[in-house]
Amino acid sequence: MLQAENTSVYLGGFVQPVFDAQTVFRQVMNAMARPGTITRFDALTTPPAPLISVTGSIAAALFDHDTSVWLEPAQASQPALTGWLTFNTSTKIVAQGFDADFAIVTDAGALPSLESFAQGTQEFPDRSTTIILQVESLDQGPRLVLEGPGIKEKAFISPSGLPDQFCEQCSANRQRFPRGVDLLLVSTQGLIGLPRTVKISRG
């Protein structure tokens, strides 16, 4: 058992790192540029649970020794998970959300306040956290209406498993523009990008 756990840290990364990273990046870029569209993902990584393949692939594509990542305390204390991330990406893991370039949230219902993450500054609003938020599904929840850059008029999404105050949190996040966090909603179905510019309402 212990043996399997130790070796699994080294397994499940990209098989073709150069091309897989490019594929995943283009999918993330597409999702960020077109909020409201579900971008499908192939399972290019097999990270330890509770991380899903989409999360593992985004990490493998974008994290490295220049990035810092915040994990929920329950995940940060799992050597299999932190070991997989650090072996496959060399990323630093940080204890405070406001120090993080990225955050991985596996329990969407317990999403911390968006304000607890790095917001960037008025002069450097890019120095902010991108939150990878694992949700139950991208299309089984209550309908949300999206407006803003990247969206022709309106877009509709129905992710499930979001916290109750999600729309209010996103609205407050948008008020801080150009500061603010960016979100990637991920499930086994793929990815929806929610940049800080997006306006979200129930509908």
């Binding site: 974008l62 008025q122 150009p178």
Partner: protein
């Protein structure tokens, strides 16, 4: 193992993976903050800065084996700059290249936006020499950054208004400043102001790379891009008196071409692909016969 002997000495798309990741992270932030200039650690490229190394680095970070690349300079695919950059990417990526706007998935450009409306599956990458629209007003980076942070764009309007006082109209015809999504004033790179309206609500994603100045910025699709102007002097694009001499197109951007040493000249589409398509479709300008002779 490696069937592409020539590629063996390079990583795919030339840049190392760490550099690509850094540029990719910058691109994602640029998309999330439309019109804001994200600093990035620009790399030396095997070509001079004047050749659009910022655009080249953005394309290199974005491009994959399934892409089809088009490179234009002043609207043409066959200038030295465009030919060299296209050859560079053929060598380091082996991707398909094209001169057809319609067939391209990535179009890298200097000085023009294609006449044909771009689609959702396309990315337009601009080579930018000076990304800071406020630079001519304020040479210090710390100050221009503060002006963007505080949305202090009054000086920019004063400058444009001085133009009107001096010339009776806004004399700026290239790199005409725009405001993106009602927030950031942005330099559209040295494209003619004729192309500014094409940036507004574009279906294609627009990415801008400035190599020497180490900045990346972006306009997501379906984003509001407004050229700065005044109520009594609204923004206007250049208009041309005659249609294209070769394909009779109107409402396109025309370049002046000298025909002989006696000073004969004609005005033709700057977008060579657009002009060629129109002629293939049977459109003929008043000099189309003559121009063909001149070429022979």
């Amino acid at each position: 193992m490696n069937t592409h002997g020539e590629l063996a000495t390079y990583n795919f798309a030339y840049l190392d993976e760490q550099t690509k990741r850094m540029i990719r992270r910058a691109i994602l932030k640029a998309i999330a903050i439309p019109g804001y200039q994200v600093p990035f650690a620009s790399r030396e490229m095997p070509m001079p800065y004047g050749w659009g190394t910022g655009g080249v680095q953005v394309t290199a970070a974005v491009i994959g084996p399934d892409d089809t690349l088009k490179v234009i300079d002043q609207g043409a695919d066959d200038t030295t700059n465009a030919v060299s950059i296209r050859a560079f990417f053929q060598k380091v990526t082996n991707v398909a290249v094209t001169t057809s706007t319609r067939q391209a998935t990535i179009i890298q450009t200097r000085h023009r936006i294609p006449e044909e409306q771009l689609g959702e599956n396309q990315i337009l990458v601009y080579q930018v020499p000076i990304p800071e629209p406020l630079r001519f007003l304020e040479p210090r980076e710390t100050e221009t950054r503060k002006m963007h942070a505080l949305e202090e764009y009054g000086l920019m309007h004063v400058k444009l208004y001085e133009d009107i006082a001096r010339n009776g109209h806004i004399a700026t015809t290239y790199a005409y400043p725009v405001k993106v999504e009602g927030r950031y004033v942005m330099d559209p790179s040295p494209t003619p102001k004729f192309d500014n309206p094409k940036m507004h609500m574009s279906q294609a994603l627009q990415l801008f790379g400035a190599g020497r100045e180490k900045r990346i910025y972006a306009i997501p699709p379906y984003t509001e891009v407004v050229s700065l102007d005044f109520e009594d002097h609204p923004f206007e694009v250049q208009t041309f008196k005659d249609p294209c001499a070769l394909c009779a197109a109107t409402g396109v951007y025309l370049d002046e071409v000298i025909l002989d040493d006696k000073g004969s000249r004609m005005f033709v589409c700057s977008d060579t692909d657009h002009c060629e398509n129109r002629r293939n479709e049977g459109h003929h300008g008043h000099l189309s016969g003559q121009a063909l002779e001149a070429q022979q």
